[in-house]
């Protein structure tokens, strides 16, 4: 099923109403997005690795002008820096990898 622009807006609005979305702010623009936070083990080899978190937020494509690597972004009230922007699914949304500044 293709999720068109109007579908995504409606879905994110429904999620926000149910408490499932987060506010994503870049510059003067605030939109709704979906935050994923996954624990990962990194730099493990001979010794146990570090438990870190991979944080990604999904937003509709094109709604945040200036969304690019290195941009300052606020997700759910927390300040991040955009690590990278990746296409997601059929291209109607993007996956934004985050890092703490």
């Amino acid at each position: 099923m293709f999720l068109g622009e109007s579908d995504i807006t409606a879905i994110l609005a429904d999620l926000a109403a149910a408490g499932g979305g987060v506010e994503v702010t870049l510059g003067d623009v605030t939109v709704l997005g979906l935050l994923d936070r996954e624990a990962v083990e990194i730099l493990g080899d001979q010794m146990p690795g570090v438990i870190a978190a991979e944080e990604m937020v999904h937003v509709q494509v094109g709604v945040l002008p200036g969304l690019q690597s290195g941009a300052a972004i606020t997700v759910g009230g927390t300040a991040y820096t955009v690590l990278k922007v990746l296409p997601y699914g059929d291209g109607a949304m993007v996956r934004v990898a985050l890092r703490k500044p």
Partner: protein, 156 residues
Amino acid sequence: MSTIREQIVAAAVLALATDAPVGIPTPVRTRLDSPSADQLPALTVYQGAETVETMRDAKTGTASRGPIVRRSVLLSVEVLTRAGTSEEPDKAADPILAWATSALAAAGAFGGLANGPADEIGTKFEYEQSETSFCRATQTFRIEYQTRTGDAESLT
């Protein structure tokens, strides 16, 4: 009783912990669990490989290769760091690595357990990115010592 090798590793950990400057993490002898990002920096000491060399080749008619074997153990000193505000993770590791170099040099022959000071072989830097940038810097030291043949717990 423990092997001379184990005593050397313990002495190295003690050397890294003694009079360490502010900001140097407490060394751990072989980490058993995974630190979280907010527990960094972390300093871990563990042994890698050991080689053993006899004093002479066995001669015809005798099984003896001499009463002493020369041993060389590779000691790993691992530093885990994360990026800080305006500080790259490998830069954050730098003072800890410098401390390890100086502390092990100052330990000399580990109270007579080794033949001499630890030789620093090199440092490997590895990086990974998730919520921030992380670095693992692993220094390798070679420590030479000797024990009785067939008895790793006894010095000559």
